[in-house]
C-alpha cells in the first residue's frame, strides 16, 4: 500500500503546552487522535486501516525528550530516543549492554534509525489475523480488535470474557527494562505521574496498555543493578525484520538471584524470579523458572513457527540466556 487510504490531519506541537492545547481541542471537538513518535509501528497500521484517526499528532517536535542521562544509580532515557541512538550510547553500552543488544535486534537499521524507545515499549500487540492487508482481511469478518464481533484465533471468545483478544505482546526492549525495575514518567491532561513499567501492561490484546487516552510517556527511568549480568535472546526465522516469536531477557543480581522476563508469549510480558540457595545457581532454580514461564505462556497458532515448537523453545531459550550470564559470571 502506498499511502493510508483514509484522509487525516497532522500536527507537530513543539512544546508540551502546545501538545495539551491541541489534545484538549481534539477532545472538545470529538476528533479521534493518535500519537506518533518514529511512526514505524503506526504507519503499517494506518495503511492497513487498523488505525483510522482524524488526526495524527507527532511527538517528534518535543526535542527535549530525546536524550540519555545518568543520574546516580539510574539511567534516564527520553521516550523519543531512537533505537540506534540507544544502541550506540556510551552509558547504555556500559551499564545496560543487554538493552543495547535487545534494541539492536529490532527490525532493521533503517527502522531503528527512526523507531523510538517510547514507541517500542508501547508497540501495538500483534496477531496473524489482524496484521494483514485489507485485501487479506476481507476474506474474514472484522474481529474484536477492530470493532467486530468475533475472534478468529479463539473462536469461543465472546464479549464479557476476561481476555477478549489474544494479540501478542511483542516489544523487544520491554523485558530487560522490566528486569531493571524501570519506571515510566507520564504526562497527561491531568498532570504528571510516575508508574512502574510493569503497571503499563494490561491483560487484553486490545486494551493492552494502561495509559489513558491523551497521556504520553516522557522518560523511562532504568535502575542500574550493581554487579549484575544480563542477556537477551530472541527466536525469529530471519536474523532481521522479524518480530520476536519469543524473547527472553535474563538478569543475575549481585546476590545470585536470577530473574527472567518474556515477550511474545502472551498478551503482556511475564517476569519470573528464582532465589539463590546454598550460594550456587542450581538446576532447580532454572527448572523452576522454566515451569513458571510455561504456565504463563499462551501459544495459539499465531506465528510462523508451529505452536508446539514455540512452546518447546521457551525452556531452550531461557536456558540459553541464563547459561550466557553464568558463563559471564565465571570469566
Amino acid at each position: 500500500m502506498t499511502a493510508p487510504k483514509k484522509d487525516f490531519d497532522f500536527a507537530r506541537p513543539k512544546t508540551i503546552e502546545q501538545l495539551y492545547n491541541l489534545v484538549q481541542e481534539c477532545q472538545h471537538e470529538g476528533r479521534q487522535f493518535i500519537f506518533s513518535a518514529g511512526g514505524t509501528d503506526i504507519m503499517p497500521n494506518l495503511k492497513s486501516e487498523i488505525l483510522s484517526p482524524d488526526i495524527v499528532i507527532s511527538l517528534t517536535g518535543l526535542r527535549a525528550l530525546n536524550n540519555i542521562e545518568k543520574q546516580g544509580d539510574h539511567i534516564i532515557i527520553g521516550a523519543l530516543t531512537s533505537l540506534s541512538e540507544l544502541c550506540s550510547n556510551n552509558n547504555i553500552q556500559k551499564y545496560l549492554p543487554a538493552l543495547a543488544r535487545a534494541a539492536h535486534k529490532v527490525a532493521s537499521p533503517q527502522i531503528r534509525n527512526r523507531a523510538t524507545i517510547g514507541g517500542n515499549i508501547m508497540v501495538e500487540n500483534r496477531c496473524s489475523y489482524i496484521n494483514q492487508s485489507p485485501i487479506n482481511r476481507e476474506s474474514h469478518s472484522p474481529c474484536f480488535k477492530i470493532g467486530g464481533d468475533v475472534c478468529h484465533l479463539v473462536k469461543s471468545a465472546k464479549r464479557g470474557d476476561d481476555i477478549l483478544c489474544q494479540a501478542r505482546f511483542v516489544s523487544d526492549t520491554a523485558p530487560l527494562l522490566l528486569l531493571q525495575n524501570s519506571t515510566v514518567n507520564i504526562i497527561g491532561p491531568a498532570g504528571s505521574k510516575e508508574i512502574k513499567l510493569a503497571d503499563l501492561y494490561l491483560n487484553d490484546g486490545i486494551e493492552s496498555k494502561s495509559l489513558m487516552h491523551g497521556e504520553i510517556i516522557t522518560h523511562i527511568k532504568v535502575e542500574i543493578t550493581e554487579n549484575s549480568l544480563s542477556h537477551y535472546e530472541k527466536l525469529t526465522i530471519r536474523n532481521a525484520l522479524d518480530f520476536p516469536s519469543l524473547g527472553v531477557a535474563a538478569l543475575r543480581r549481585g546476590n545470585g538471584d536470577i530473574s527472567v522476563a518474556l515477550t511474545g508469549l502472551n498478551t503482556r510480558p511475564g517476569v519470573f524470579h528464582a532465589k539463590l540457595e546454598n550460594h550456587e545457581t542450581s538446576d532447580d532454580m532454572i527448572v523452576d523458572i522454566c515451569r513458571k514461564a510455561n504456565d504463563f505462556t499462551v501459544t495459539y497458532q499465531q506465528d510462523f513457527f508451529p505452536r508446539g515448537y514455540r512452546k518447546n523453545m521457551i525452556s531452550v531459550f531461557i536456558r540459553r540466556a541464563i547459561n550466557k550470564i553464568l558463563e559471564g559470571a565465571k570469566s
Binding site: 502506498t2 484522509d7 506518533s36 511512526g39 504507519m43 517528534t60 527490525a107 532493521s108 537499521p109
Partner: protein, 160 residues
C-alpha cells in the same frame, strides 16, 4: 477532502516548498509529487528497504515516514548521490563488481551501503551484512553486493 499542509525542506541540496496532503508518505511525495522515480516502492511497510533514503544524515524507510514530518529536514535520495555526470564511487563499485541485476533494490541498497561506510570507514564484512539486513534483493544473492561495498572500504587492498 485531504488537509493540505505547507512543507519546506532540502532535497538533494535544493530547497523545496510544497503543499502536501497530511496522509502522504515521503515515498509518495518523492515519486509522484516530485517525479523522482529513483526511490522504489515495493512492500510499502518497512520490510524490504527499496525505499531507503537519507534524512538528516540517517537512512530511513521513506514508505514509513509521513511527508509532513520532513519539515525543516535535509533529504538525500539516489538522484543526489551522483557527482555531476560521474557516478558516486559506491555506484561505480556496484557496476564494476556486477552487483546489479534487475536493479530494483539498488537505489535503497546503495544509499544504505554508502551510509554504512560514512558511519564506519573500516567496516568489516560481517558488519556490512548486519548493516544491509534491512535491504532485500531477489536477484544477486548479496555476495557481489558485499564485494562492491568491500571494494569501497578498501578491504580487498588491505587483505592483499
Amino acid at each position: 477532502m485531504s488537509v493540505k499542509i505547507k512543507l519546506d525542506f532540502t532535497l538533494n541540496s535544493r530547497p523545496v516548498n510544497i503543499e502536501v496532503p497530511a496522509e502522504m508518505t515521503v515515498l509518495n511525495l518523492l515519486r509522484d509529487g516530485l517525479d523522482l522515480k529513483g526511490t522504489k516502492y515495493a512492500c510499502g511497510e518497512g520490510e524490504c528497504g527499496a525505499c531507503t533514503i537519507e534524512v538528516d544524515g540517517r537512512t530511513i524507510n521513506s514508505c514509513l515516514m509521513m511527508a509532513v514530518d520532513l519539515q525543516g529536514r535535509e533529504v538525500m535520495t539516489i538522484e543526489g548521490m551522483q557527482e555531476g555526470h560521474a557516478l558516486h564511487p559506491m555506484q561505480q563499485a556496484f557496476v564494476d563488481h556486477g552487483a546489479v541485476q534487475c536493479g530494483f533494490c539498488m537505489p535503497g541498497m546503495i544509499i544504505q551501503a554508502n551510509y554504512l561506510v560514512k558511519q564506519n570507514p573500516e567496516l568489516t564484512r560481517e558488519e556490512m551484512k548486519r548493516g544491509l539486513e534491512g535491504n532485500i534483493c531477489r536477484c544477486t544473492g548479496y555476495t557481489k553486493v558485499l564485494d562492491a561495498v568491500a571494494a569501497v572500504v578498501g578491504l580487498n587492498e588491505r587483505r592483499n
